[in-house]
């Protein structure tokens, strides 16, 4: 449980854009997982199984109670990097990821954070593998484009 809670929280955070809701999602996910432990056939599949439960819980919460805001531009961008320069870079990148359309952000998060392959993500999201490859490719292209824009703006304003 401890091995997966941090990873699930991060996934929930990028799915919901809200720390409090992400914590609730993780809690509900483990409660549901515990009650249906028989559904887990292999220990190695635990991460994918928990991810599926969390996605369903997220969908259920959306249906039950619409989120007050889905504007991820308001994400907490508190920096924790080792140096001011690095902190700034991380904050810019988080802001850029937050601006991505969910259809690009979610597969990217599953791939980078979860370590899932495009084939596994396709199964999880109910898409074709080719569609997932296109989405994660475009996600990275959009991030690069946004970051280039941020850096150009920084140069214009004489920022480091």
């Amino acid at each position: 449980m401890r091995a997966h809670s941090g990873e699930l929280y991060r996934y929930a955070y990028w799915l919901s854009g809200d720390s409090a809701l992400a914590q609730d999602l993780v809690q509900e996910t483990f409660l549901r997982a515990w009650r249906s432990l028989d559904g887990l056939r292999e220990t190695v599949a635990a991460k994918a199984w928990l991810t599926t439960i969390l996605r369903r819980e997220h969908a259920r919460l959306y249906e039950r109670k619409p989120m007050p805001t889905t504007d991820l531009a308001d994400l907490d961008l508190t920096d924790t990097g080792p140096t001011p320069e690095r902190q700034g870079e991380d904050a810019v990148m988080r802001a850029a990821i937050a601006k991505l359309d969910p259809k690009y952000r979610e597969p990217l998060v599953l791939q980078v954070l979860g370590g899932f392959s495009c084939e596994e993500i396709a199964k999880e999201l109910g898409l074709t593998e080719a569609a997932v490859m296109t989405q994660v490719f475009r996600a990275r292209q959009k991030l690069k484009s946004m970051l280039d824009g941020e850096e150009r703006e920084a140069v214009i304003h004489g920022l480091p």
Binding site: M1, R2, S5, G6, Y9, R10, Y13, W14, S19, A20, Q23, D24, V26, Q27, E28, F30, L31, W34, R35, L37, T78, T80, G81, E89, D90, M93, R94, I97, L108, V109, V112, L113, S117, C118, V132, M133, T134, V136, F137, R140, Q141, L143, K144
Partner: protein, 243 residues
């Protein structure tokens, strides 16, 4: 694989698991530069996605699993009495996390004590009997049709304990409370008497579940066990010695 295919691939699968892509990378200096840039971007993305995990999240999840309480993160901990219960339950939870489900048996008394003594302690004070229909309905909701309903039940509630659906009851004996929990979907391997945390207890496999009793003493355990065997299995099976 040509350069265009390679550039497309590193945009969608930067870990480069494809042997053909690896072979191309080794032979193409320009794509090696592109791959290095892609790896740098990947590292930035990974760092940015790894937002800080709230402190104590795993412990709160464990506590919620233990008590079945869906409390809202820190709110519940503002109250002293919950913090005390949480502290007691957490001691059990830390041990519980490493216990596989197949070996839940030895931990069941701890779970029941944490639930009865921590989460629903006030229920132990109740003395007035609840209607038999309430007991009947609680078991029916758990998929169990009772053959009879024992008398003297002062509290009944459907509670999750350690993730298992249970019916939690209180049955006072000589004006002293006995917590009685019927755990469904888990059958203990045998009858076990235990003493811990100031409680005397007994767990008894009945039908497909386990009856757990805890009290200040074992007074009344034999009678309660017999009554619940009759109630769940029927008096004929109890008389025949079925366990």
């Amino acid at each position: 694989m040509d350069c265009l295919e390679f550039r497309r691939l590193i945009g969608s699968e930067p870990r480069l698991t494809d042997p053909a892509a690896r072979a191309h990378l080794e032979s193409c200096p320009r794509c090696q530069d592109a791959w290095a840039r892609a790896q740098a971007l990947e590292a930035r993305i990974a760092v940015a996605l790894a937002v800080a995990v709230p402190e104590g999240l795993a412990d709160r999840v464990l506590l919620a699993q233990l008590t079945g309480e869906r409390q809202r993160r820190a709110k519940g901990f503002r109250f002293g009495w919950i913090a005390l219960a949480a502290a007691a339950a957490l001691v059990v939870a830390v041990g519980f996390v490493v216990v596989r489900r197949e070996s839940l048996g030895p931990s069941l008394p701890d779970l029941v004590i944490a639930h009865v003594d921590g989460h629903e302690r006030d229920a132990l004070k109740l003395r007035a009997p609840v209607p038999a229909t309430d007991v009947d309905h609680a078991f029916a909701d758990r998929g169990i049709a009772l053959k009879s309903v024992p008398e003297g039940i002062s509290y009944v509630h459907k509670c999750p304990v350690g993730g298992y659906p249970t019916v939690h009851m209180v049955m006072p004996v000589d004006d002293k409370p006995v917590g009685v929990v019927y755990v469904t979907r888990y059958r203990a391997p045998g009858v076990t008497n235990f003493e811990r945390s100031g409680w005397e207890g007994r767990e008894v496999p009945i039908a497909d579940g386990t009856l757990v009793m805890i009290g200040a003493s074992a007074n009344g355990f034999d009678r309660i066990e017999h009554e619940w065997r009759d109630a769940i299995q029927g008096s004929a099976q109890t008389a025949a010695g079925s366990r």
